[in-house]
């Protein structure tokens, strides 16, 4: 194609040109080339175009002939842009100039200056070693250069210059600049002229006789000119304009300048697309015989070459693949005239050749560009692959269905042409199926590889899918299945359900074709498929509606079969095909134990689903669980209402935990409880569904309570009350278990009278044949729980009613029983001689009123010493009430003959006010029911209602405790049928009086009471201790011998250690001491608290002598004191109660 250099002609004196000097000079000149960084500022272009590097060819002027012979416009670079004349005489040698040189130059100038669009330049070469005349300044005649300038350089442009001939590049700088300038001026002029011509030609477009091909060649010459000076972008612009111009012609349907659309030659389909040497394209264009096919290829190739030259290889792929697609489509119009598969072969070969071509063009691309290029190449390869799809389907090597048929266009099999395609690869593939598959797989893998490099994951996935389809078709089912199983996961995250479901569907088909057993794996695939179906409501399944239903129901049937063949349960979580909604409250069954829960189940599959059971699980407090279920044959498509039953009932508010649908071994499972992740928690999303379950008062029930008699010091027990409610229970197995307490079921005894059939085993209690409305109370001993205030006892009861003998109901309850007593008892003892007075103070530990019927102190059963107890309470005294602010005191006088070793027992009969009132109400209700037996059914409700009414207002308490009148506050409006019984009961309660002797059940508490004994060994805090303070004095070490007869006045002081001791008595005083005498004084000590501490200190000091004065002051006898028990400590034991003492402060 166009030479990448510009021509510069040279001329000179023939003698010089023949000399070796010229050769030397030429070499030096060429060494300065190529030209670099030429900035072309064109008048018609907005910005400066920069030519990085330009080669210059030096040709002798004679070799250039005026080639106006050819009418074909060629590149403007065909002619020299600059003509050079080289003068080589001494600068001062004006003689030589005048005689020979001037004439020669004049001749040359005449030739050259007439040439259009060419510049000229005269170069005066001066040898550096030439003698420079010293007196040039005085040579008025001037130099040769001046002469040259004067003679030829008439206009402003400086076209004459002098060059000192050295190899030093700096000397050449000016010359090079002048060279560039000259060339650019010529180039600009030439381009301008050519552009003018093109414009003129284009404007004549509509005129008759205008020829597109001529125009093309003319405009192309411009392009090749630009290309010649490496302005690829400018050149490309020309071709792009030509392309647009061609489309314009195409649009006008005026292609008369071309030959046929295509006249295929034997190699057309397999020769590389981007090669302009494969045909004499330009000649064909000039001859107006070029086919559109060839013309388009020529145009494309030129464009691609230029793109590659300007480093835009990535666009080549895009351009060619668009071209192959678009032009291939046009060629299809004439497919009949082409050899069989010509079109496919052409696209295939072309695409592959372009990929190769791009590889050869590619160098120095960045990663990003490389990715884009790879993507482009991938697209080309996919295009090639698509041709294989077409050929394959046509030959029957591939099935005519998706994904192969995605590119389906009918290929006319009848062609007039007998010629064959020439691509050897394809020819081989046409003959042999295996060869075809090999080509197919290789091409696809190559494309996948390129897509992967380009980061186009989704394209690669698509091709993987097609490979799997090929495997499927070829019967390589295992491979296909593996691929199909792995692909859906890639489509799932973005919810491309259509593609995901298509992949799954194929996987299912493959599985079926493999004849593999429909095992767990198959079920998983199927369930995923159904879930894609459900999540898109089947819209993305790309199948006809009726086919769809038949297809799905077929699958469902198969699912049912294989589900029943499973060996173990297969849980499947959160399948979207079915959704369940439960109503917000359960309803009681009324006629039997249990309740119903309504639910709406939505099946989004188009066919009914054969299932066994639907169930939901609700959770309450303390992981209480309530399971509702219903056996269902099948679940119809759309919404179905179901009513699930739970045989037992726990009242309260429950959270919908999970729901399950069982199909033989297959278990669909949905967890409704949201595990709230703080990140995504939004209002209303995390909260679960609440279900309220009403209390069934007629149901089988188990209650726990404290036994009526609590004995301290013995193993505790509790009462388990089993009430049958409406049921006739044939058998009930009761189990109590809690981690902290052990129950001794085996030692259980019946608390109430009655002939219940009870059996006790170590861990359960079995009751049999209980009639309805019956309560069995069992006394269950258990381990010590005194560390707790209350204990929580989970109870599990299995019971079978006679009405439904086949159903075993399992009731799980959690009951709380208070182990703490509501009252506390304190004792104070007073010893008065042989009598002991014990005062017991009973106070309530809660805020509730406690009624106390009696408090009796009983002497020990085995009584050796005839303990007699006299109580202060009169027999007449009726029930006492203990309120938080007012405890009750009970005083007993105890007499005994000797020491009392065995404890006495204090028995207190008490009950809470509430219990008493409830009893009163029960009595009243019984009374009412006696007269109106028809209200018997309302008994429990009536009771509950009245309690509720009492709870609402506490105003009745005061009147009740005084008189016994129970004025039920009537603020609550009772429901209709209860209204009358309540009114009646209220009336009875209003007339209620406290009975003379307490009625109803009482709690009894037995407290063992030790009789305190008085012994000297133990000192109790708060107890007064009599003590003797003895002070022994000795004068043994006195200074005078007669001291022994003397008397000194001594003062003592018992130091009060206010934290430990109270001291009563004469704790400070004075006495007169004599030698070896002891002074004794009694005091009483009271320890203030328990612990171990020293006795009070005693300070002893002598008083001053009354009569003796020493040195004018009173003399004090010296004394030393030590305390015999000073280092001893006494142990004070703790004692309850409070003691008040009046202390004598003593006197001095």
């Amino acid at each position: 194609m166009a030479k990448k250099s510009v021509l510069v002609s040279y001329a000179g004196l023939p003698s010089f040109l023949l000399s070796s000097n010229w050769d030397q000079f030429k070499q030096t000149l060429l060494a300065q080339l190529p030209l670099r960084n030429i900035h072309w500022k064109s008048a018609s272009r907005t910005s400066i175009r920069t030519i990085q590097e330009l080669d210059v060819s030096l040709v002798p002027l004679d070799s250039i002939r005026d080639e106006l012979t050819s009418q074909v416009p060629t590149s403007i670079l065909e002619k020299p842009l600059l003509n050079l004349y080289i003068v080589t005489c001494e600068n001062a040698d004006l003689e030589a100039y005048r005689t020979t040189i001037k004439k020669q130059v004049k001749e040359w100038h005449a030739t050259v200056s007439n040439r259009k669009n060419q510049e000229w330049m005269i170069l005066h070469v001066v040898r550096p070693d030439a003698k420079t005349p010293s007196g040039t300044f005085f040579q008025l005649k001037g130099s040769v250069l001046d002469k040259l300038k004067a003679d030829f350089n008439t206009d402003k442009r400086d076209r004459c210059m002098q060059l000192i001939w050295t190899t030093n590049p700096s000397m050449w700088g000016e010359f090079i600049t002048k060279l560039k300038d000259g060339m650019l001026v010529a180039f600009e002029a030439a381009v301008a002229q050519r552009e003018e011509e093109v414009k003129r030609s284009e404007s004549q477009r509509q005129m008759p006789g205008w020829n597109f091909c001529t125009f093309f060649i003319l405009k192309e010459s411009l392009a090749s000119s630009f290309e010649g000076v490496t302005l690829s972008d400018e050149a490309l612009l020309q071709y792009d304009e030509l392309e647009a111009s061609f489309y314009q012609a195409l649009k006008e349907k005026n292609l008369s300048w071309f030959g046929t659309l295509i006249s295929p030659t034997s190699k057309d389909d397999s020769s590389p697309l981007l090669s302009i040497s494969k045909k004499p394209y330009r000649d064909l264009i000039l001859a107006n015989t070029i086919t559109v096919f060839d013309f388009r290829i020529y145009l494309l190739t030129r464009q691609c070459e230029l793109l590659a030259q300007s480093g835009r290889t990535t666009e080549v792929c895009k351009k060619t693949s668009a071209f192959l697609g678009a032009f291939g489509r046009r060629l299809r119009e004439v497919e009949k005239d082409l050899p069989r598969f010509f079109l496919q072969s052409w696209i295939y070969s072309s695409a592959l050749s372009v990929v190769e071509q791009c590889d050869s063009w590619t160098s120095g691309l960045s990663d990003v560009q490389l990715a884009v290029l790879n993507a482009g190449k991938g697209e080309l390869l996919e295009l090639a692959r698509n041709q294989l799809d077409l050929i394959g389907m046509n030959l029957g090597f591939l099935p005519q269905k998706p994904p192969f048929s995605n590119v389906w266009v009918p290929i006319s099999t009848e062609t007039k042409s007998t010629a064959k395609i020439s691509n050897p690869q394809l020819l081989k593939a046409l003959d042999s199926q295996d060869a075809f598959y090999e080509v197919y797989i290789n091409t696809t893998n190559h494309a996948i590889d390129l897509y992967a490099k380009a980061g186009r994951r989704k394209f690669a996935l698509k091709l993987h899918g097609s490979l799997a389809a090929l495997d499927l078709h070829r019967g390589q089912l295992d491979v296909a299945l593996t691929t199909y199983n792995s692909l859906p996961a890639h489509y799932a995250p973005h919810m491309w359900t259509s593609l995901e479901s298509s992949m799954l569907q194929r996987a299912l088909e493959t599985h079926a074709a493999l004849g593999k057993p429909k095992d767990r794996e198959w079920i998983h695939i199927l369930l995923s498929f159904l879930s894609t179906y459900a999540s898109s409501s089947g819209a993305d399944m790309l199948m006809k509606e009726d086919e769809k239903i038949a297809y799905i129901s077929g699958l469902i049937d198969a699912l049912k079969v294989s589900a029943s063949e499973l060996e173990s349960d297969l849980p499947h979580p959160d399948h979207p095909a079915i959704s369940t909604q439960v109503s917000s409250s359960a309803t009681l069954a009324e006629t039997r134990d249990g309740m119903y829960l309504d639910a709406t189940v939505y099946n989004s599959l188009p066919c009914s689903l054969p299932i066994d059971e639907i169930s939901v699980i609700l959770t309450g407090r303390d992981s209480e669980r309530q399971r509702f279920s219903i056996a269902v044959e099948s679940l119809n498509p759309g919404t179905s209402q179901i009513r699930m039953f739970s045989p037992v009932s726990n009242a309260g508010t429950f959270l919908l935990e999970s729901s399950e649908i069982r199909m033989s071994r297959l278990l669909f499972h949905w967890t409704h409880r949201r595990t709230s992740t703080p990140k995504v928690s939004r209002a209303g999303r995390t909260s679960g569904v609440l279900v309220r379950i009403p209390r069934d008062l007629q149901a089988f029930d188990v209650q726990l309570r404290q036994p009526p008699r609590v004995q301290f010091g013995q193993s505790p027990s509790m009462i388990v009350a089993v009430s049958t409610g409406r049921n006739e229970v044939s058998k009930a197995i009761l189990k109590l278990s809690t981690s902290s307490v052990t129950f001794d079921c085996q030692d259980t005894s019946l608390h109430t009278d009655g002939s219940a059939e009870v059996e006790f085993t170590p861990d359960s209690i079995i009751l049999s044949n209980l009639p309805r409305n019956h309560v069995v109370e069992l006394l269950v001993p258990h381990s010590d729980v005194s560390v707790f205030n209350a204990m929580k006892v989970p109870i599990e009861v299995e019971y079978v009613t006679t009405a439904e003998i086949s159903m075993t109901r399992v009731l799980r309850l959690s009951r709380i029983i208070s182990t703490a007593l509501p009252i506390s008892v304190n004792v104070e003892d007073f010893f008065r001689g042989k009598q002991l007075f014990s005062k017991f103070t009973v106070s309530t530990l809660s805020h509730q009123h406690v009624r106390i019927a009696s408090a009796v102190l009983e002497p020990p059963r085995i009584d050796d010493n005839k303990v007699r107890v006299v109580t202060s309470c009169s027999q007449k005294r009726s029930t006492a009430t203990v309120t938080p602010s007012q405890p009750a005191n009970f005083l007993f006088q105890i007499k005994s003959d000797g020491p009392v070793r065995d404890p006495l027992t204090l028995n207190i009969k008490y009950r809470m006010l509430r219990e008493e009132v409830e009893f009163v109400i029960d009595m009243a209700i019984d009374e009412v029911l006696d007269t109106h037996p028809e209200w018997h059914a309302h008994r429990t409700q009536l009771h509950a209602k009245l309690i509720e009414m009492l709870e609402s207002d506490a105003s009745w308490v005061e009147i009740y405790s005084i008189s016994g009148e129970l004025d039920v506050p009537g603020s609550i409006v009772a429901p209709g049928e209860l209204h009358e019984p309540i009114e009646k009961t209220k009336k009875i309660l209003q007339s209620h009086q406290h009975p003379r002797s307490p009625q109803g059940p009482w709690h009894e508490i037995s407290i063992p009471v030790d009789v305190p004994s008085m012994t000297s060994t133990y000192l109790y805090a708060g107890q007064p201790i009599s003590a003797l303070l003895s002070i022994h004095t000795t004068f043994h070490w006195g200074s005078h011998a007669d001291d022994k007869q003397r008397q000194y006045s001594i003062q003592y002081d018992v130091e009060e250690m206010v934290k430990e001791w109270l001291v009563s008595g004469k704790k400070r005083g004075s006495f007169s001491a004599m030698d070896d005498t002891t002074f004794t004084v009694p005091i009483t000590l009271v320890a203030l608290h328990h612990g171990e501490f020293t006795l009070p200190r005693v300070v002893v000091s002598a008083l001053p002598l009354q009569n003796e004065l020493t040195m004018g002051s009173m003399s004090i006898p010296s004394t030393e004191t030590y305390q015999v028990h000073g280092a001893e400590k006494v142990l004070i034991l703790p004692r309850g109660g409070r003691s008040t003492f009046v202390l004598g402060m003593g006197s001095t």
Binding site: A244, Y247, L250, K251, K318, S321, A322, G325, A326, F327, R329, R330, V368, A371, V372, A375, E379, E382, L383, N386, K401, P402, P403, S405, N406, V407, W408, V409, G455, R456, R457, K458, F459, L461, K462, Y491, H494, M495, W496, T497, S498, L499, S502, S535, S536, S537, G538, A539, D540, L542, K544, P576, R674, V680, R682, R685
Partner: protein
């Protein structure tokens, strides 16, 4: 609007790359999946384009994404990152970007007016995986009608101009 522009399929894809709707206009039923593939693979190219622009580009129109055998695939991304993919029948004539952009603008408008319906929620950003409303939902009936109308007008430009949705 030149003749010969034939819309084969239109796909709307959410910002999270979930398909919103894939609407095909070809006669053959079994080619539908092809356009699902096209919509899906286009995401790769759209991503390339958006990344190449470095997120600075304010132009919604992404131009020709790729040409595949007989379709030319064009892309468009709304400011809220909803992608619109248009599959045109490939023809051997110049297709001007301005025209394609116009079709996209109309499609965008159609989508915009459809989601303006407060009763139509397509739970696009649902965290719990609740399902996106897809083609199957009746709530998108109007939207589909608008798309169909645009496709019809593009194929037959003489009747009316494209409405704003």
């Amino acid at each position: 609007m030149p003749p010969g522009l034939r819309v084969n399929a239109v796909a709307f894809i959410s910002a999270q790359n979930h398909p919103i709707i894939v609407r095909t206009f070809s006669a053959q039923d079994e080619t539908t999946i092809k356009y699902h593939y096209i919509a899906h693979t286009s995401l790769d190219v759209i991503e390339e384009r958006v990344n190449a622009a470095g997120g600075k580009s304010t132009d919604c129109y992404l131009g020709l994404l790729y040409a595949m055998e007989d379709v030319a695939v064009y892309g468009y991304i709304t400011p809220l990152k909803v992608k619109i993919v248009l599959a045109l029948a490939l023809s051997d004539s110049v297709v001007r970007d301005v025209e394609i952009n116009m079709i996209f603008k109309a499609l965008h408008m159609a989508y915009y007016s459809s989601i303006s319906n407060p009763f139509l929620t397509h739970n696009d950003d649902s965290v719990d995986g609740s399902r996106t409303l897809t083609v199957g939902s009746t709530k998108w009936k109007n939207f589909r009608r608008r798309i169909d109308e645009i496709a019809r007008v593009v194929g037959n430009p003489t009747s009316t101009s494209i409405g704003g949705g």
